[in-house]
Amino acid sequence: MKNMKKLSPAFWAAAAVLSVVLLMALFPGLFTRYDPIEQDILSLLKPPSADHIFGTDNLGRDVASRVIYSARLDLAIGFLAMLIPAVTGTLVGLLSGYYGGRVDAVIMRILDIFTAFPTMVLVIGIVAILGSGVKNLFIAIWLVGWREYARLVRSDVLVEKNNEYVAAARSLGYSDLRIMLRHILPNVISPVIVYAVSDIMMCMLMGASLSFLGLGVPTPTPEWGAIISDGKNYMMTAWWIITFPGIMLALTGISISIVGNELSKRLSRRH
């Protein structure tokens, strides 16, 4: 490959940020001496100081330690909640786009049924039937998340399968499975990765923005999205509650994206 460049400094910076976040997820105790759920009624809404570098929240909890302890759950949400729908959706989209005709019609009508339900209705239904909690948060996100990937991949495959290399592969007698996975998939994976990176962040935020539907992460487990959404009422008086988790979220997101970008460059192959 002609433009297989050396890894950029941006990649290394991103990797460094992600390593730190990963360390926070694995060993949060190394980064803070505070318990993220310990309330201190005597120090409510204190601005950042030497004692509490990111200040305290409305229940007197140390924001810094909450931000740090959030890393574990957030990484889990980000990756797990993204991964399964991304894989399922991609495969479904591949099948549908590649075979077309009846297969496509059936798959697309099933997809239509899922799309016809507003996300909110699906989520409330799932949570009401299964109960709340992290596990069901995942299930709900999985059930609603694959739709986008399927549609996205299908539209790419529809275009891609008309390219000469597919015809060439067919004439060589390759099996459909091989053509789909070895030839078409690498060419449609890049938008999936791009979307998935954004999806990771949307999942992290979705947990919080759907908490009023009963899809919240159980209190008091700290989680960036939840901290941000709880801090919303205090954003004018205690800016620090939402600012620091917001920065962490954005930093993590950008780093994942840079790494993901590099990854997708390597994965796409040309024919």
Partner: protein
């Protein structure tokens, strides 16, 4: 003619899909715990009062009867009155749909205006700093919650500069349009981040194809190459993404509606679900399903318009 048969076939295929949707929403809503009668009569009512209210709402009838009634209303489009709001469901839907549809259209318009030129530019210049900067800015916008972007826009452009109202739908058309600018921009930032990255990536991919090199070597003008190869290959995924976001927004964005005090579908739907307003939820989901199916059909038709190699069949 082929196209006509295709479209007819697709329309016929909608019937079973809609039937499944009505079944799922009807029985799904009833599987969710929570009794609309209890919510209507309030926390202090006795069991007898709750039972009387159930009878009054027609909830004491056999489920199958209730379902058939719902099915009938799906054919006549007369969904009766909302359980909790007592107003005709169709009228409520119409009122809110005006807001949500306008918001969605303006959002998509902004998203296209932002993402297509920027994404195209970033793709052509992906190995230059400008491209990298555009790509990372787009990522920041994905990672900032919508409510925060919305509130900040309100703070600056409404409260401090007075260019726009601090949220509100207004009463006249010019007021509506003025009210929609900030919320549309908020929604467009997220959508255009997604679309921009997608376009830029696909441009990079297409440029690397051998046939582009081949076309160049044949002496085709750079403009011609862009128009015939790049646009064709880039627009289909972009249109898909935009259509996806459009479907998503048509269901009503609770966050944007809430921050900008817009009376749209999202907020109504949320309240209807939380108060177990069966008639309102059922009808809204059904009407929404029709919209989604039509949107998906239009998207598929647009594929073949954008790229003649994609056949409708």
């Amino acid at each position: 003619m082929d196209e006509f048969t295709y479209i007819l076939k697709r329309i016929l295929q909608m019937i079973p899909v809609l039937l499944i949707v009505t079944l799922a929403i009807f029985f799904g809503m009833r599987m969710i715990p929570g009794d609309p009668a209890l919510l209507l009569v309030g926390n202090r009512a006795s069991d007898e009062t709750i039972a009387a209210m159930r009878a009054k709402l027609g909830l004491d009838q056999p489920l199958i009867t209730q379902y058939l009634l719902f099915l009938r209303s799906c054919l006549t489009f007369d969904f009766g009155n909302s359980l909790t709001l007592k107003a005709p469901v169709t009228e409520l839907f119409r009122q809110k749909a005006v807001v949500t549809v306008s918001l969605t259209l303006m959002t998509i318009l902004f998203a296209v205006l932002i993402s297509v030129p920027l994404g195209y530019y970033a793709g052509l210049h992906h190995d230059q700093p400008a491209g990298a900067v555009i790509n990372s800015i787009s990522l920041v916008f994905v990672s900032v919650p919508e409510f925060l972007i919305g509130l900040l826009l309100l703070l600056v452009f409404a409260l401090k500069l007075h260019w726009f109202p601090v949220g509100d739908w207004g009463h006249t058309l010019p007021e509506h349009i003025r009210s929609l600018i900030l919320p549309s921009l908020t929604g467009a930032l997220m959508t255009s981040s997604l679309v921009m990255r997608n376009i830029s990536d696909n441009v990079v991919k297409v440029l690397s194809y051998d046939y582009v090199d081949f076309a160049r070597s044949k002496g085709l003008s750079e403009k011609r190459i862009r128009n015939s190869y790049i646009l064709r290959n880039v627009m289909i995924p972009a249109v898909t993404l935009l259509a996806m976001r459009m479907t998503y927004m048509l269901a009503g964005s609770i966050v944007i509606e809430s921050v900008f005090a817009l009376p749209g579908i999202g907020q109504m739907m949320l309240n209807a679900i939380l108060s177990r307003d069966y008639s309102l939820v059922q009808a809204t989901v059904y009407l929404f399903a029709i919209i989604v199916l039509v949107m998906n059909l239009l998207t598929d038709i647009s594929y073949s318009l954008l790229d003649p190699r994609v056949k409708l069949k």
